[in-house]
């Protein structure tokens, strides 16, 4: 157990000493800010509490700690309930109707408002003091009568993701920061958050300034140490698995290479651990395969050897080099796919499993496995859209990237069927004074009214869809009339709405507004638009005002 917490604390020693020291004579309000990995910090705070309470004179009867999450306590009632239950170490039971902690069965209600909460805290304090006194009374009959100062019970309330209090329970922010003054008991409030106190501080100095603890980002070496030290306790099976103790040396090499590759992109230890968890089983598999092969061949040859042959020895330097050469390139792709969670670790690990008995093969034969092809299914992805939806998306993309004024020049057709006028390409290199104009594709999509979308859609359909659509009924005699009719159909509107609900289009105007056309914005990237245009035979680059 000791080992576990030691491994936990690597890199966070400063936080551990700071907080443990502070908690002996705590300030009323502490603010812990960890912009990198608040989750790790909160786990560490948990174990600090545990350890601190254990070591504190009197143990859990003279100090109680509660940690609540501001996201899951989204209402004041939940916050009060969670804090009180957790301070009292009370677990709600289904059989007695999930009752909250209370002194007696029909006790008063603590969760109604802040006042009730303060009363609840007082009641809890009194209850804990009673309990403490009773315990002490049982243990030491002699000191029963003496007024002992240590009867006080210290309460610690930690609130994780405290930045959310500002949105969810803004009215509670000030009282919580002043809780010790308001309740007049020995109490500390700790906020843990990944944003700065300045960003959530209530105005007009309503809250006292907290005691700040900033958690600094870990260095590469610390993270490497941290992850490596976790190795020993994650392996618990005797069967030579990926986390066999003999492989620890290899693991620390692996982790240091992994950190070399990935550290520039993220310094969240949990993220690196996640990537390591996904890659390690594949990395070590050749070694295990080799071992298994050896064991089976040995057991075939000499039956008397027994256990001695089946122990897994740490791999040699040579094997390590070979493994590194095979797998190092995959670390980058693991980073690229796992960090944004394009896939999850379990699936990535099974998709990137090396072939069995890799080490038995000559080095030349070892093929590098391709990564999960995210580009492969890209082509398939949009196939399920109907042809009209694809046209709408391309039209939306054009509407979102081209300036409105260019539409007539891009899509307009004169009577003489002249080729569309293109903008004369400006001579490059001439820079005038004033702010440089940012190209449209870098500005991001602009919003456009529905009418414009329909107009561009009509133009696209007229140009690119005449051959493949069902022949126009004979009553449409004027050129473009049939297209005009088609773009006004309910189906088009419902497709647009459907695409909006898929977030391929974004609706910018408020849905309740009924005057004027709704404003939309394109939600697909240039690549996707290009892909769709290719499927529809639309020369997209010719239709863009500012082609890439």
């Amino acid at each position: 157990m000791e080992d576990v917490s030691e491994a936990h604390y690597i890199g966070y020693e400063e936080l551990v000493t700071d907080l443990s020291t502070l908690l002996t004579y705590p300030p009323p309000f502490i603010y812990i800010n960890d912009p990198i990995s608040p989750r790790t910090t909160s786990m560490i705070v948990d174990s600090i509490f545990e350890k601190f309470i254990e070591e504190f004179p009197g143990g859990s009867s003279s100090i109680r700690a509660a940690k609540v999450n501001a996201i899951s306590c989204f209402s004041a009632r939940l916050l009060y309930d969670s804090i009180l239950n957790s301070l009292a170490s009370w677990e709600a039971q289904w059989d007695d109707g999930c009752a909250n902690w209370n002194i007696e069965d029909d006790g008063p209600r603590w969760n109604e408002n802040f006042d009730g909460f303060i009363h609840g805290l007082h009641a809890l304090c009194a209850y804990l003091q009673d309990e403490k006194a009773r315990k002490k009374g049982k243990g030491k009959q002699k000191q029963k009568s003496t007024e002992y100062e240590g009867d006080d019970v210290r309460l610690i309330i930690a609130i994780e993701r405290a930045e959310r209090l500002k949105d969810n329970l803004p009215e509670l922010l000030v009282p919580l920061t002043r809780l010790a003054e308001l309740a007049r008991i020995d109490l500390t409030v700790i906020f843990i958050s990944d944003v700065q106190w300045e960003d959530i501080r209530p105005p007009l100095g309503a809250s006292p300034d907290p005691f700040f603890i900033d958690v600094l980002p870990l260095t590469k070496e610390t993270i490497t140490n941290r992850i490596c030290s976790k190795f020993s306790y994650t392996s618990d099976d005797l069967e030579p698995g990926p986390y066999h103790p003999s492989l620890k040396g290899l693991y620390s090499h692996f982790i240091s290479v992994l950190c070399d590759v990935c550290f520039p992109f993220t310094n969240d230890p949990q993220e690196l651990e996640y990537i390591a968890a996904a890659r390690w089983p594949g990395f070590v598999q050749p070694v295990l395969d080799e071992h298994r092969r050896k064991v089976t061949s040995e057991s075939e040859n000499e039956m008397n050897e027994g256990d001695a042959g089946s122990t897994l020895h740490p791999p040699t330097e040579d094997v390590r080099m070979r493994l590194s050469r095979i797998f190092n390139s995959s670390l980058n792709s693991a980073m690229e796919e796992l960090y944004p969670r394009l896939t999850n670790a379990t699936e990535w690990a099974s998709a990137n499993q090396p072939k069995s008995d890799l080490l038995a093969k000559p080095p030349g034969e070892v093929m590098k496995r391709g990564t999960l092809g995210s580009s492969l299914d890209k082509d398939e992805g949009m196939k399920s859209l109907s042809r009209m939806s694809k046209f709408i998306l391309v039209a939306a993309f054009i509407a979102s990237t081209n300036p409105t004024k260019s539409d007539l020049r891009m899509f307009g057709r004169g009577l003489d069927e002249k080729k569309r006028k293109r903008r004369a390409t400006k001579a490059t290199g001439k820079t005038k004074g004033g702010p440089a104009k940012i190209p449209q594709r870098l500005v991001g999509p602009v919003q456009f009214p529905l009418d414009r979308l329909l107009a561009i859609l009509g133009a696209l359909l007229e140009e690119n869809d005449v051959e493949s659509r069902p022949p126009a009924p004979p009553e449409y005699t004027i050129p473009g009339e049939y297209t005009d009719m088609e773009t006004g159909r309910i189906g088009i509107y419902s497709s647009i709405m459907k695409l909006t609900s898929m977030r391929l289009l974004h609706r910018m105007s408020h849905p309740d507004r009924i005057d004027g056309p709704p404003a939309l914005k394109c939600g697909i990237s240039y690549d996707v638009a290009l892909l769709l245009a290719k499927q529809l035979d639309i020369p997209l680059n010719d239709l863009m005002w500012d082609p890439i």
Partner: protein
């Protein structure tokens, strides 16, 4: 009834004028049958047709639904397995437990798949009463449940906790116990479940939350929901199942949710088969499978519309099924003889005098078909009612056997084509059609009888086959016949014998090229195949009374499914009478003054320039109303004399009542008339404004801008 509101009260901005007409009309319409009666109907024709329609559609729909279910089954199985294993075989060494999420992408059939899954999850629950055997407890979450995080949590927790059959509900005090949106309550409940039923960690039931229409959920709320739930895994074995209808590749989850949320989840993606292939499968197995016989066959126009709609407009199976539904409905409502679909009524019914119209129609059609086809039926002209019934029954069996042969033919031609493809030949150019290709397009051609050239081409290809290939082809055709249902196989005895004979005629040793024999054989098989296929694929219209069982070339009412808003609005304004009385006033043109006010105003609107002076508009409107008034007076004058100064009849509607009964040259009346004209103008103007024809620019006093141009009447 309330008193008339004081309309002059300037403090009131809105008035409620309750509807004072009788409600009987609507109630009367509501219970009438959806099928229209025609004059050729039997006395109870519409009812019989409705029955026939219900039977026919039910049969087809059941078939399609079971096909869809079969298509979904393998993926459903995978999903269930994944959910089942979501808390076992977790990758070791992860920094924190992840919340398993099964993400189902299903663009084609939005709700049916997730319902299949939900049924599977629930069925295991119902089958066995003992909890340790229950692998899942599921609850459904809809976007409307999740207006805010409180209601979302309440819905999730309530969905699990409200199961008195598992755990008795304990009376709780709402104030001093956990709130119903507190996840701790779910924790307590689950703990109690585990203790009550002594569940081990491995067999503990997973708590599955199915989120329907996931795209409609507010991402902010779902983020919090996921966060809260992820704090409690694996203590609470929650699994989220998301039903998405957006395309899989720019993943909706990735687009919408931030990395911090994605990092909490272990997302497994499942794609439900989608696209045109699904439609092909369903339609082919419903309408072109020798093993299934729908009561009504769809014609090429409907099929074509189905394909077009699916590929171009709306790629959803639900919409396609609606199209087929509508095609059935139209078939049974427009074709009076469809009461004959499944059975022929007894001779008593037919000999009743009120059925003579129907008989007349029936005989005319029988005569028509008898003239057009050569008299191969050989049936005598039915001159008695029983003979007529026999003729109808005979027509039914003939049609069904013909369509069965058509199905066999279509399968055979696909088989030959596929064979050619596997042999590396080009075969027919089914893939190179403009605007995408689908096997259903080939079916359209078959139904239209346009595949003659293709059949001939395939025959030529067969003629050129080598002996070895020929034997493979014959083998395949032989197997095809073997797999046919017995009833059908016996009908094609001749063809099977031909195949058997040809197979035995092939030389034993293929390696020795006995070119003369094999080429001769190939020649004969090719010719036979062309003849046989052409015989199988004869147009369905050649049979008698085919209209009853086949929708043929009747156009599909696509405007009902997908109307053009603008066009119907303009048509409504320009020709309002076309909508009011459908049949009688065909071709009758109405003069401007006969039109309703809004239409009059709209006509004048069309005559104007870009900006419209409202006063000029009003004057022209007034002019039309004057004409209208004069007309009415002229019409009413003789009647008024007849009634002798009585109040005018109420036959012409409200408007006429108020305008018609005025004394002629009364100042007071004239004043009233002017006010009325103005009121009517205002109302019509408001209506046009509401429809969006007018833009108030404020650029010019008393002017509004016109925004609809170029109306081609």
């Amino acid at each position: 009834m309330t008193s008339i509101p004081n309309l002059d009260d300037i403090n009131q901005t809105a008035y409620y004028i309750p509807f004072s007409g009788s409600a009987d009309d609507e109630a009367g319409n509501a219970i009438s049958l959806p099928l229209q009666r025609s004059k050729n109907d039997l006395p109870d024709g519409d009812g019989m047709r409705l029955d026939a329609y219900m039977k026919a559609w039910r049969k087809t729909l059941d078939r399609m639904q079971s096909l869809i279910r079969a298509l979904h089954a393998p993926v459903v199985e995978q999903v269930i397995k994944k959910v089942h294993n979501s808390y076992t075989n977790v990758l070791p060494g992860l920094p924190y437990p992840e919340l398993p999420v099964v993400c189902i992408t299903n663009p084609t059939s939005s709700s049916s798949f997730i319902n299949d899954v939900a049924v599977r999850l629930d069925s295991t629950e119902l089958d066995k009463g003992d909890l340790p055997d229950i692998p899942f407890l599921s609850t459904s979450l809809y976007p409307t449940d999740c207006g805010n995080i409180t209601s979302a949590m309440k819905a999730v927790i309530g969905g699990f906790v409200d199961r008195p059959e598992l755990l008795m509900k304990v009376k709780r005090k709402p104030t001093t116990s956990l709130a119903s949106h507190d996840i701790e309550m779910l924790v307590a409940w689950y703990k109690s479940i585990r203790e009550t039923y002594n569940v081990t960690a491995l067999s503990q039931p997973k708590l599955v939350v199915i989120m329907h229409d996931f795209e409609e959920f507010d991402p902010g709320i779902v983020q919090d929901l996921f966060y809260i739930c992820s704090l409690h895994v694996p203590r609470l074995p929650l699994v989220f199942m998301l039903s998405l209808s957006s395309p899989p590749s720019p993943s909706y989850l990735q687009l919408t949710y931030p990395r911090s949320t994605m990092a909490l989840l272990r997302t497994h993606k499942f794609d439900v088969p989608s696209g045109i292939k699904i439609l092909e499968e369903v339609v082919l197995k419903t309408y072109f499978d020798p093993e299934f016989e729908p009561d009504v066959m769809i014609g090429p126009t409907t099929l074509k519309h189905l394909i077009d709609n699916f590929t171009r407009q709306n790629s959803s199976l639900e919409a396609s099924i609606s199209i087929l539904h509508l095609a059935h409905l139209k078939h049974f409502s427009t074709e009076p003889l469809t009461f004959l679909t499944q059975s022929t009524p007894s001779s008593d019914t037919l000999s009743h005098p009120s059925s003579f119209h129907t008989l007349d129609d029936l005989l005319t059609r029988l005569q028509g078909s008898a003239q057009s086809t050569d008299k191969e039926q050989g049936a005598d002209w039915p001159d008695t009612i029983p003979a007529l019934i026999a003729t109808i029954d005979y027509a039914r069996t003939t049609f069904y056997s013909r369509i069965r042969r058509l199905r066999i033919g279509s399968r055979l031609i696909q088989l030959v084509q596929k064979f050619m493809k596997t042999q590396g030949y080009k075969g027919l150019d089914w893939d190179q059609r403009p605007g995408g290709s689908s096997i259903l397009d080939v079916m359209v051609d078959i139904l239209r009888g346009k595949l003659g050239a293709g059949v001939k081409f395939l025959g030529t290809m067969v003629k050129k086959l080598k002996a070895r290939q020929l034997s493979v082809l014959l083998e395949e055709i032989h197997i095809f016949f073997q797999t046919l249902p017995t009833a059908l196989r016996s009908n094609e005895e001749e063809a099977r014998e031909k195949i058997m004979a040809s197979r035995s005629a092939l030389p034993e040793q293929m390696d020795i090229d006995i070119s003369a024999i094999s080429s001769q054989l190939a020649e004969s098989i090719g010719e036979w195949l062309v003849e046989y296929l052409n015989n199988l694929l004869r147009p369905l219209e050649e049979t008698a009374l085919w209209e009853v069982w086949y929708t043929g070339l009747s156009p599909f009412p696509s405007d009902l499914m997908n109307p053009s808003v603008r066009a119907s609005m303009l048509a409504g304004l320009l020709r309002p009478y076309d909508f009011v009385d459908s049949d009688d006033s065909e071709g009758v043109t109405h003069s401007l003054s006969e039109l309703p006010d809004t239409s009059i105003l709209f006509r004048r609107y069309l005559d104007s320039g870009k900006m419209i002076n409202v006063y000029d508009w009003f004057e022209s409107f007034q002019l039309e109303l004057e004409t209208q008034r004069k007309h009415l007076r002229k019409k009413l004058a003789p009647e008024a004399i007849k009634v002798e100064r009585g109040s005018p009849k109420k036959g012409k509607g409200k408007r006429e009542v108020t305008s018609g009964g005025d004394p002629l040259e009364d100042d007071d009346g004239e004043e009233k008339w002017r006010v009325e004209v103005q009121a009517r103008f205002m109302r019509a103007l408001q209506e046009l404004d509401y429809l969006g024809f007018i833009k108030h620019t404020g650029r010019k006093a008393d002017h509004v801008q016109r925004i609809v141009y170029d109306i081609h009447d």
